[in-house]
């Protein structure tokens, strides 16, 4: 059967894409964990990362520096994109969400503000950059001849790099949250904001840093997706954002490991769907998964039902 023959290859793609979904999903889940809010503009933060990475790559190519090796080009692109996305994320929090949540708006307030911010950012990018697709000249960085052959499976250097970076960033974030003082402060604020403040934590700064970290990961994912698909446009954050949101819900929203796991599982499910059903149904399957999770296991794979800390 033909489908079975291409399955291992599809699983590799699924895993790579899933790792990137997980990276974006972390941004949703971190913000949800700390503010109980879905940052629907996170997809646009990701999209802006992709644009900044594209601009940096195009500039490097046009500068004709010669010897564009991914070993230094990719880190440069990531650094630029992550910084820009982090800035956008922190700005969003400061001007679009903080004025609402500090005045005790209902949970719906920041959510609607996020949808507005999402539309604003999409249109801002469209107006300044044009509605046409931008092309990542990935082939100049990763020649087609760079690949590993494992049996019938061919893993290109690009896919390998993408997976490695996504996994490395996830591990890094997890370590930061579990092992550092900042991570402890983030978890404390997520659990009980008032008591965290009583411990001496500057809650606003921690919330700001949470947006910074989540957005930077989103920006990195933007570069990876840009390099992988080679074409980006101002609307790319919409579907990628929804997919990553699905991954976050699948893993249990608010749970970091859940977001990573959810991303990988969603990537694999998609690759199975592509193999056995029809590539055209890829998005349909992803959202069927979202609906099924919401109906049958709203807390997600790793979601726990911890009684809410009493907040005043």
């Amino acid at each position: 059967m033909e489908a079975l023959q291409i399955l291992p290859q599809q699983l590799v793609f699924g895993l790579a894409l899933g790792a990137v979904y997980g990276l974006i999903a972390l941004g949703y889940t971190m913000v949800y964990g700390i503010l109980m809010m879905i940052n629907f503009a996170h997809g646009e933060v990701f999209m802006i990362g992709a644009y900044v990475g594209w601009a940096a790559l195009t500039w490097l190519i046009n500068a004709q520096l010669g010897g564009l090796h991914p070993a230094w080009v990719v880190p440069v692109l990531l650094l630029m994109a992550m910084s820009a996305s982090a800035l956008v994320g922190v700005t969003l929090e400061r001007f679009a969400y903080r004025p609402l949540y500090t005045r005790g708006a209902t949970r719906l307030g920041p959510l609607i503000s996020a949808v507005g911010a999402s539309i604003f950012l999409q249109n801002a990018v469209m107006l300044t950059q044009g509605a046409r697709m931008k092309v990542y000249m990935t082939s100049l960085l990763f020649p087609r001849s760079w690949y590993m052959q494992i049996g019938s499976v061919r893993v290109s250097a690009l896919v390998l790099m993408m997976t490695a970076i996504a996994v490395a960033l996830m591990v890094l974030l997890n370590t930061l949250v579990q092992r550092t003082t900042l991570g402890r402060c983030m978890r404390a604020v997520a659990e009980d904001r008032e008591i965290a403040a009583v411990m001496g934590v500057n809650v606003r700064r921690v919330i700001s840093l949470t947006f910074l970290l989540g957005s930077a990961l989103g920006g990195a994912a933007g570069v990876l997706v840009g390099l992988y698909y080679t074409q980006i446009d101002f609307f790319m954050g919409y579907s990628a954002g929804l997919k990553a949101f699905t991954a976050a819900v699948l893993g249990g929203i608010g749970n970091l490991k859940g977001a990573m796991l959810g991303g990988l599982v969603l990537g694999l499910i998609e690759s199975l769907a592509v193999t056995f059903i029809n590539p055209a149904y890829r998005d349909v399957i992803a959202f069927v998964v979202l609906i099924l999770v919401l109906v049958f296991r709203p807390t997600g794979l790793l979601g726990e039902t911890v009684p809410q800390a009493n907040k005043v």
Binding site: T181, R184, C185, R187, A188, E191, D192, E194, I195, A196, A197, V198, M199, G200, V201, N202, V203, V306, P307, A309, N310, V312
Partner: protein, 237 residues
């Protein structure tokens, strides 16, 4: 050490504190008594800047603190043992204690280790459960953790909100013994309690809050003798 002068505070349109004046001297245990909704917890919240007073002033060692952010107020040397404990349930016991030491910005080095040993000395159960999530502890253990967490800040002034609530009588006695021990070691304590008999038995002075005003004050012994207090809070006829 701590002075509240004519402090007025409200939740939206509902005024809770209507001119509270009280003073805690260095080295004292002061208890704040009162029935439900008398404004006891609100007084602590206002001291900590979790609620902004609309009038009056709060000074800590002659420094005005009522306009400061909560994190800056606690940096002046105040710690809180909150009502119903509010430990970080999804963090380990050790992590909760580390959060308690956050104001001092110490690395988990010698000084931190010494404080940790002091807390573990007071509450050996916490040491056994250091790596357990706080949410898995019993109510009494959580109360010990809440106290230990506050002590990790090495506060000069410790605020305690209903430390006896929900504890078995034997534990209540233990908690109040520990409050006295902490006090003898040099920490000033302001404790809010519904359990007036126990609170007055260890306190130096007391205040009684009623409808957001100080209705009565005096040395603990004389408050214990007041007929009114006996009727209202000690359940005697």
């Amino acid at each position: 050490m701590l002075d509240l002068i004519d402090v007025v505070a409200s939740y939206g349109p509902i005024s809770v504190l209507r001119g509270v004046t009280l003073r805690v001297e260095r080295g004292e245990i002061v208890c704040l008594l009162g029935g439900n909704a008398a404004g006891k917890s609100t007084t602590l919240k206002t001291i900590l800047g979790l609620l902004r007073p609309s009038a009056g002033r709060i000074t800590l060692e002659s420094r005005r603190v009522d306009r400061l952010a909560t994190e800056d107020i606690v940096n002046c040397g105040i710690a809180l043992v909150p009502e119903s404990r509010r430990v970080f349930a999804r963090m380990t016991v050790w992590e909760n204690l580390a959060m308690g030491a956050y104001t001092r910005r110490v690395a988990p080095g010698d000084e931190f280790a010494a404080d940790l040993e002091r807390v573990y000395g007071l509450f050996p159960r916490l040491k056994e459960r250091g790596q357990q999530h706080a949410g898995t502890l019993s109510g009494g253990e959580q109360q010990m953790l809440a106290i230990g967490r506050a002590l990790m800040a090495r506060p000069r002034l410790l605020l305690m909100d209903e430390p006896s609530m929900g504890l078995a009588p034997v534990l209540v006695e233990q908690v109040f013994d520990i409050i006295q021990t902490i006090n003898r070691q040099g920490t000033t304590i302001l404790v809010v309690e519904q359990n007036a008999a126990v609170a007055l038995s260890i306190a130096h002075r007391g205040y009684v809050l009623q409808d957001g005003c100080i209705a009565m004050q005096g040395p603990a012994a004389s408050l214990l003798d007041e007929d009114h207090i006996r009727r209202a809070y000690l359940g005697e006829d």
